[in-house]
Symmetry: C2
């Protein structure tokens, strides 16, 4: 018997918000607005599912932005043994590109097999069990923090390249940027397709355009050398002689694993399949391929151009490794800029706006990449909450408190990293890719299991062929990512990866503990047969502190429920006030008895709790209904002045078996303020809405089914 | 028709607490215990009203302790013009003693007229109106903060005198001491009579003994000079020539107003009359006189001995004012110790234990004086709360939150002062006595009004004579304190008194605002005739998130209240879970309909709020009863994992008119921990209990009256 009712038409969100903006702008609101920017009107929302040309920038900013730092890291690592090892740079680039292609091919399988958007976490949980899933989840949590820290630190480096005043203050600039991003996301920033599309496409245009123009000039033979081309690199101690095979191999492995930073963010699309237009999986797979090709061409062009322009690039915090050719020290006033900045500076040597365009757009895309972490974090939180691995309240939309806590946590952790590592991208990178490759590996392994399981039942030869091919791809992917993970672990463990592993272990244990707790509670709560017993009688007591409207309302409501016994209770802490109340009670001819509990020591909560316990003892199969009149106020400081005792009393009564606590609210005029505030809060845009394929909440469809 | 029931016998507090200590010591408790000391058993309490010999130390520590710094301040002020002005020191002492005698005579009148213990605040409010009362209250609030800051700073100075390692770290030592005091008071320290009596009597013995022995040696002619006797004092610039009459007058006025610091704390007894044995007022008045005589003899003996021993004492932060006789600078390694230390050092020159005894006991009495502020603060808060000038919740005992907030506020403000003024007693004194004399003045003025009012109706000539005499005393007192207030304001305004006045103005405005708010709310809540209307029908909805014990209990409780309509509501955010619930619902044959609200965007709160609004719209004279099953857990982190959504929902529903919210608690096993904790919390000793004449809460008598 399921009847679906037509939802009542809602007043349009615009009208509602418009009105409230006029009438309810309090001082607090104004000051907040100055800090956090104008509130967005709900009507500005209304996105629907994403076409490929929008989905690409929405999900690709993270992956593409890594081209801003991955090549730099390769050159820094190679510079350990001096500039001679730079000959290996493009080979390392090709190796990274190969890994990327493999990973993308693997994720194209995932996208088809798991179109629900659970991504690596779902794949691991379904195929490898809960522990694998929790491992992936902890890897992802750590990765979100690092995405923010690395991207913003790198952006600060670019900013310092364009604004010399920032040199030496990168950590401060990065911290300020994270705080601004946090404020924006707490406020609820509108994520439209254009918000991502414009800067992402501009970034592609900028990098590919720069590289294309540079390669043209290379062919024409007038590609200038970079500013740093004339410099020599002093090899690190122990690396200055001719290198042994092992040493060279170790060096290349380290450079390669730093270059693998280019792979971060590739998995984002597999979490966003539900936001694509139909056919979702195919569109997602195509977008993934496009993303891979663009990322690879960007990275390879940058590496090749850097090589051709003889760029010299060392750890920015060890500039003393550089020296003028034949000279003894660094040329006076030399500042090392990121690789892309140096290329842009050279390629656009007669056209400075080109340089500024490239640097600005690169900085923006890095900030956008950090922003994706702020969006992905709550989405992951809600998935974990549904599976009982995070507080349940994260699972429902609109829990501002939990949601804000998540954003603030992410911000605090990344600021901590930025400050501890002084915004040095090179050091943060050492922490970064462990988590990424842990989830790559578990996800590939899960996919192999997935295909094997399906092959066991599948009979259609065409389908089986496809599955076998998919499994082969994932197996190859697993082999590749496993090798990379081992390389990363060996080369980076002491350099910082141990921190990541420690953090992952911490998140793992917390999530497991939460899961265990929920399971234990569920067991304790499971219904059994004895729970159908109905209380034999209801003894209602109404707490009367004064004889005012809230009390009268509570008395009326209590009487409307027709309890077996109904009485009012007054805790007397002052004889004069008590007599006044008794007189008023008589004057009003309330035919409800008033019981006075004397409390010479001004305790309020205890006498009431003990009285309910007495009632309960007298009739153990009955239930005590405690009616608490409350008045509802709107301002935070008003809340401090009222209902504190009621709150404490409710807290204590909840621990008393056989009692139910009834709040009878009386709305004071000022409560309208808070009501309006609450409604605006709920209508607010939430980070991650877009990538969950979520439209404006003002248009929420709803049906009612009867059973 | 008032029947008094015999109170049920309570299980003895000792047995209860004893049992719980065994079974419920959690890890958190243990760590807290290490920090804050062992919990006190309630049975250790049980004081009754105070005999004079105990009341004197309980209420006198604050007033007596000022002898530790008041004479020093007199000498510091006189030192401005060099040691020659020290001849005035004992005359200033006599002036201060005269003021003290006057003030004590005045308060003896107050104690008789207002035995309820409201003190200056009550006198001012009753006789001069609310504004005067609020002014006195703000003066008292400021004074509590300054009592802590001054006493602890002075104690730190004494400690540094005995432990050379502390020299230069007085502010740190004072801060640590305040933090320890705070922890002690948050934990609820037992205030027994002995707690005060032993150190206070020891202090009297120490000071009077030292002075007596010193005076004996003076008579015997072998009183040694102080260590500082050989030093010369360089007058401040502008004070080095012969002084003009005006300059000398100003100097003496300043020294006098600093010396008036000896009067702080004298009013304490007038707040504590209810704690005295009968006849309360007479005993209090006698104790007051004893206090005054002891304080005056201590102060005068110290000043006379200091003069006779040729002590040289300057601002401890301007030791460069001292120089060796005939020499050019301070002798190598000279440290200036407080006056009492110097006297003790000289008098007990052949008996070092005497010196250490005096210094130690002085330090203890100063800490005890600070502790009285921690006790008085909550008492004042509860009086203000009863009058609607502070949050109401302060008025009832056992509001740990409000109460702790008060103690932490007091501690934070005094630590701020200690740090800002670097624990310099001399500078803090400048802020101190304004507040004291503001309340003295208003209280005297109120007393004059009081007698005048009573004289208008009193006919008995004997009583009239007594009243006239009392009024004369209070009038003389007002004249005296008014002159002192003017002197204090003139000599100290720029030196720091402006801060006190600003702080008083701030407290004044906050209290007035709170009072206005409560008045406004009371008006809005006043009952009128239309409030007798009873709702016509009750529509009960039970929120079902799962079909577990809490839901079944809520359904049973809801059914027991026999509402007109009863239905269960489920917000569906996931089709699979919904179907599972529907099946279970059918299996259980619950004859209550289950309504499913679809919420595709995972909102939980909004659909329910809107549904209740719809019901309410359909029958505006009915009431909607929303039953929320809650499970009650015991650990703080469990609370984060549960009921967050219920909490948010309740918050929103309270703003919806015509709705009552019913919490149906289901106690999980872990909830026993919290219940036990709550009970222990309530049974805990509270600061200020003793001076309110309050016995252990475990023995709370209680009667039940029926009307």
């Amino acid at each position: 018997m399921i009847t679906t009712c037509t939802p009542e038409p809602y007043p349009s969100a615009e009208k509602r918000v418009g009105r409230s903006t006029l009438s309810f702008v309090s001082v607090g609101d104004v000051s907040k607005r100055i800090l956090l920017g104008r509130k967005l009107r709900s009507s500005q929302l209304g996105e629907t599912l994403l076409p490929k040309r929008i989905a690409l920038p929405v999900f690709a900013s993270d992956a593409l932005s890594s081209v801003a730092y991955a090549p730099d890291e390769v050159f820094i690592m190679l510079a350990v043994a001096g500039a001679s090892t730079y000959v290996w740079s493009w080979k390392i680039g090709i190796a990274v590109a190969l890994v990327m292609l493999t990973v993308i091919a693997s994720y194209r399988q995932t996208v088809h097999a798991y179109p629900s958007g659970g991504g690596d976490y779902e794949v691991a949980t379904v195929n490898l069990g809960r522990n694998a899933g929790v491992t992936v989840a902890s890897a992802l949590l750590v990765d979100y923090v690092l995405t923010v820290a690395v991207s913003i630190s790198s952006a600060a480096q670019y900013a310092a390249g364009a604004i010399p005043g920032l040199i030496g203050h990168e950590a401060t600039a990065a911290t300020v940027a994270v705080i601004l991003l946090t404020a924006m996301n707490l406020r609820g920033v509108r994520e439209s397709g254009a918000f991502f599309a414009v800067p992402t496409y501009l970034f592609m245009v900028a990098i590919l355009g720069m590289c294309g123009y540079g390669l043209l000039r290379l062919l024409a033979g007038d590609l200038p050398l970079a500013e740093s081309a004339g410099l020599e690199i002093v090899p690190d101690e122990g690396w200055d002689g001719p290198l042994s095979q092992v040493a060279l191999l170790f060096l290349l492995a380290r450079a390669f694993s730093s270059g693998c930073a280019a792979l971060t963010g590739v998995e984002a699309i597999s979490n966003g399949v539900p936001a694509f237009r139909k056919p979702k999986s195919r569109n997602a797979a195509t977008t993934l391929l496009m993303l891979g090709l663009i990322a690879i061409s960007m990275m390879m062009s940058v590496i090749v151009l850097a090589k051709k322009m003889s760029i010299r690039y060392v750890d920015p915090h060890h500039l003393d490794k550089l020296r003028a050719a034949g000279g003894s020290g660094l040329p006076e006033g030399y500042d090392q800029h990121p690789v892309i900045s140096q290329i842009a500076n050279g390629v656009f040597d007669h056209f400075p706006p080109g340089f500024y365009f490239v640097v600005t757009v690169t900085g923006i895309i890095l900030v956008l990449a950090a922003n994706t972490a702020f969006n992905g974090f709550p989405v992951l939180g809600s998935i974990l909450a549904q599976d009982g691995l995070a507080p349940r309240s994260l699972g429902s939309r609109g829990d501002r408190l939990a949601y804000s806590n998540g954003i603030v946590f992410l911000a605090a952790m990344s600021i901590l990293l930025i400050i501890v590592f002084d915004a040095e991208t090179t050091k943060l990178i050492q922490l970064y890719i462990v988590g990424v490759f842990v989830s790559f590996n578990l996800s590939q392994l899960g996919m192999i299991r997935h295909w094997t399981r399906h092959l066991a039942t599948e009979r259609d030869p065409a389908v089986r062929r496809r599955m076998l091919r998919s499994r082969a791809i994932n197996t190859f992917g697993l082999g590749m990512t496993a090798v990379v993970l081992v390389i990363v672990l060996i080369t980076k463990f002491l350099a910082g990866a141990w921190i990541t592993i420690l953090a992952m272990a911490f998140f793992f244990m917390v999530m497991k503990a939460i899961g265990r707790h929920y399971a234990r509670v569920e067991l304790e709560l499971a219904a059994d047969e004895q729970d159908k017993v109905m209380p034999t009688r209801v003894h209602a007591i109404v707490l009367a502190s004064k004889l005012h409207k809230p009390t009268l309302r509570a008395l009326a409501f209590a009487r409307a429920t027709r309890p077996n016994v109904l009485e009012a209770i007054y805790v007397s802490i002052d004889a004069k006030a008590t007599n006044r109340l008794l007189e008023e009670w008589d004057d009003r001819h309330l035919d409800i008895p008033l019981k006075v509990l004397h409390s010479p020591y001004r305790e309020v909560v205890r006498p009431i709790v003990e009285y309910t316990q007495e009632i309960r003892r007298a009739s153990p199969r009955g239930v005590v209904a405690v009616y608490i009149p409350e008045y509802v106020v709107g301002r935070w400081w008003e809340q401090l002045l009222h209902n504190q005792t009621a709150l404490r009393l409710k807290g204590r009564l909840l621990f008393t078996p056989g009692v139910m606590v009834i709040s009878v609210p009386y709305q004071l005029r000022s409560s309208q303020l808070a009501q309006e505030r609450g409604r605006l809060d709920e209508e607010r845009v939430h980070a991650g809405d877009l990538r969950r394929g979520r439209v404006a909440s003002g248009d929420t469809p709803r049906q009612i089914d009867d059973v």
